[in-house]
Structure formats: C-alpha cells, structure tokens
C-alpha cells in the first residue's frame, strides 16, 4: 500500500538533479534509565527525493544525536528488523520513501505497539517469537526419510506460496488491536507461519498445528479488521491466510 494522497513539493530542481528538501522527523524517544517516560523529539534534516525514512534516521544518528536507537540490518526490506510506526502506520523504515509521505508536516516515528519498548524505537521481540515458536515453524515429516528430495508439484507449492514471504518483522502482529489488549493472542505472524506449514504437502504435523491454533487465544480471537493485511510490507494476504486456517480447523483437516 502506498500513500498516494501524500505529495511532495520539492524546490525547483535542475534536470538530472535529485531534488532535496527539509523534513522534520518527530521521533518517540524512550530512555529506560530515566523516569521521564516517553517523549517526542523533533529533528529537521535535509534529505533527497531518493531517501527513505531509514536514511533520515541514519542522518540523525550519525550527524545530530548519536543516542538515537533503532534496529536495522540489511536496510533493503529483507531482514525485517526496522518495522516501526511511521505516521501512525506500521511500515519498514527501509521501504518507505520520504517523498511518498507528506513532508510539509513532521513525520512521526514510533516503536511498534503492543510489545515492551526497550529504548527509543527498539522493542522486546521475545513475546512475538514465543508465539512464533509455539506453532512449530519447521517441517515435520513422518515415515522413512527419502534418499532424494521431497517432491512437490507446482500446484502444491502454489497453495502456500503467499505465506512463505513472511520476514517476521512483526508489523502485522503489532498492528492488531486484539494483540494490543493483553498480548495473549497468537498474532497474525504466528498464524501466517503456521499456515505456511499446514498447507505444505510435505508436512505431516498439520493437525497438531491446527490444534494449537484452536486454543482460546488462537485463530478465534481474530476479528477480521484487516489491519495485518494492510500493514504487511511483503503484501501477504494475512487475513485471508487466517480465514483459511479457521476453515481448516472447522473441517478438522487440511
């Protein structure tokens, strides 16, 4: 989902030149060693039309305030480290171009919600990974191990293709209002990763995973608000995957 309504009026640029502009980043700061709690801090930086929110954060950290803390690894939308709440929506900072946001107003950057904040934009991801581990996100195959590959047709692979794209950035789970309430709900990401194995023809633990997701905090807490599908930086149809798992639980099989 791109924010098409937001526009960018760069100062008149010469041909071939990347336009530059001033942009204010309003960042939620949290220092665990002080009692002040969370506060907003504004930084104004000069950025270019090709820059992303992550580049603005780098500019601040490297040239203005070295204490600004955030997570990022690959910086190209693959590792899933830099999910954050930008202008009130969960996105990857490395996949959000500044020019796609409204730069006339300060751009707010907050940590993702529903998980304990450790410092500034870093949250403790352990509860998120706990629920991920509970769905057994690994291949469980019964019977004799084949001496060659476990073969699968293109159609069988297609069945769960969408949910293989997950990068575990937690943008979906931390956008879910049911997860915000008490953090007991499995969350969309765990269900997506269970879906990836439940509908895999090579896997034999589908029923076990369905039983896990049939618990009180499982798929039935989903209220189909579609926040997760909207938040996913990989474009996974998360709510659809959850609905497919619900159907499989009701039928008792895959």
């Amino acid at each position: 989902m791109t924010a098409v309504a937001e526009r960018n009026e760069a100062p008149e640029a010469k041909a071939e030149e990347v336009p530059s502009f001033q942009v204010t980043m309003r960042i939620a700061r949290f220092d665990p060693d002080s009692d002040k709690g969370h506060r907003w801090e504004d930084f104004t930086v000069t950025m270019h039309g090709t820059d992303r929110v992550l580049d603005a954060l780098h500019e601040i950290k490297w040239h203005l305030d070295g204490s600004l803390t955030f997570r990022r690894s690959c910086a190209h939308g693959v590792c899933g480290s830099d999910a954050m709440r930008i202008n009130g929506r969960n996105r990857l900072a490395c996949k959000t171009l500044l020019k796609d946001l409204n730069i006339d107003k300060p751009i707010t950057v907050e940590p993702i919600k529903g998980l304990p904040v450790e410092k500034d934009l870093i949250v403790d991801m352990e509860p998120f990974f706990d629920s991920y581990r509970e769905v057994m996100p690994f291949l469980v195959a019964k019977g004799q191990e084949p001496s060659r590959e476990r073969l699968q047709s293109a159609e069988q692979r297609e069945r769960f293709d969408d949910t293989t794209k997950c990068i575990l950035c937690a943008a979906c789970t931390s956008s879910c209002p049911v997860f915000w309430t008490d953090g007991q709900y499995f969350g969309p990401a765990a269900i997506v990763n269970a879906h990836r194995f439940i509908f895999d023809s090579r896997d034999d633990a589908g029923e076990q995973r369905l039983e896990i997701l049939n618990s009180k905090e499982g798929v039935w807490r989903c209220r189909t608000t579609f926040n997760c599908s909207e938040a996913c930086p990989r474009g996974i149809q998360v709510t659809k995957a959850i609905a497919e798992v619900k159907q499989a639980v009701i039928r008792g099989r895959v």
């Binding site: 998980l115 304990p116 403790d124 352990e126 509860p127 706990d130 629920s131 509970e134 209002p177 049911v178 309430t181 008490d182 953090g183 007991q184 049939n214 618990s215 009180k216 905090e217 499982g218 039935w220 807490r221 209220r223 619900k246 639980v249 009701i250």
Partner: protein, 156 residues
C-alpha cells in the same frame, strides 16, 4: 518461553516485561463453537428479523395495524410463538456473545472483566427468562381483571 532468572531470590524485582509474556492456554476452548454460533445465528436472525418486520409493518394494515389485539392475535398461534421465541433467544445470545468478545478485547483488568461479564450474563438471562415467560403465558383476557382495562376483543 524465556526464563525469569530473578523470580526465586527473596529480593526479586518483578520483571516489567512479564505482563507481555504469553501464559498459554486459559480455560477450556469454546471459542470455535462461539465463532460458529455467531455465523449460524446471524444468518437465521436476518431471516427471522426481516420476516418479523415484513409481517408486522408491511402486510395488511401495515404499521397502523399494530395494537394490543394484533400482538394477542399473533401469539395465539404456535407458529408465531416459536418464531418470536427463536428471535428472542438467538438475538440475545448472539448480541450477548458479541458484547462478551468486546469485553474480552477491551477490559484491561481481570476484575473489571469479571464484573462486566457478570452484569452482561445476568442481563441476558433475566431478559430471556422474562421474555420466554411472556410468550408462553400471555393471556389477553385474564379472568377477574377490571373490564375497563381489557381490550375490545375480550368482550363477550
């Protein structure tokens, strides 16, 4: 699940992140039944409610035809008694279950959750019992009542 190392020492400071830890299964799982019930009863209620509105507000004299005698006439037939009974039970359980999930989603403390759900359950049960009683014991012309208070259909 990650271990909380300081939980055994006497001077332990509670880990502020414990409230985010998943505690696993809570109670028995009726959530699937509840989810299925919501879909089935929702579908039935659409038919029941629109049928009710059509018969009461559209057919015959329409909305002007509704009075005490109209309701008394409807409830003299077992068909409408069952129809209204189903509407009452399904509507209240469907609505009550919806409010229950909202309480589960939004009430933060376990005390407030308990109190709100207690109030909800009492309200649902009282309304269902009273409604059922009225549908089955309704008598438009109770014996020995003051004649001036009775509708015209009771004369003679």
């Amino acid at each position: 699940m990650a271990t909380n190392t300081s939980s055994n020492s006497p001077t332990a400071i509670p880990n502020p992140t414990t409230r985010y830890r998943r505690t696993g299964q809570r109670g028995i799982n009726t959530e699937m039944l509840s989810w299925l019930f919501m879909r089935a009863s929702g579908l039935l209620l659409v038919i029941l409610v629109f049928g009710h509105l059509f018969v009461n507000l559209w057919l015959g004299l329409g909305v002007k035809g509704i009075d005490f005698a109209f309701v008394a006439g409807k409830w003299s037939s077992p068909f409408w008694q069952i129809w209204d009974l189903m509407m009452l039970w399904l509507g209240l359980i469907h609505g009550g279950n919806g409010v229950r999930t909202i309480i589960n989603d939004y009430a933060r403390g376990s005390t407030s959750r308990l109190v709100l759900k207690g109030l909800l359950y009492v309200a649902v049960v009282v309304t269902i019992v009273l409604g059922t009683l009225v549908i089955f014991t309704f008598d438009p012309c109770p014996a020995g009542a003051e004649p001036s208070l009775l509708p015209a259909i009771c004369e003679g």
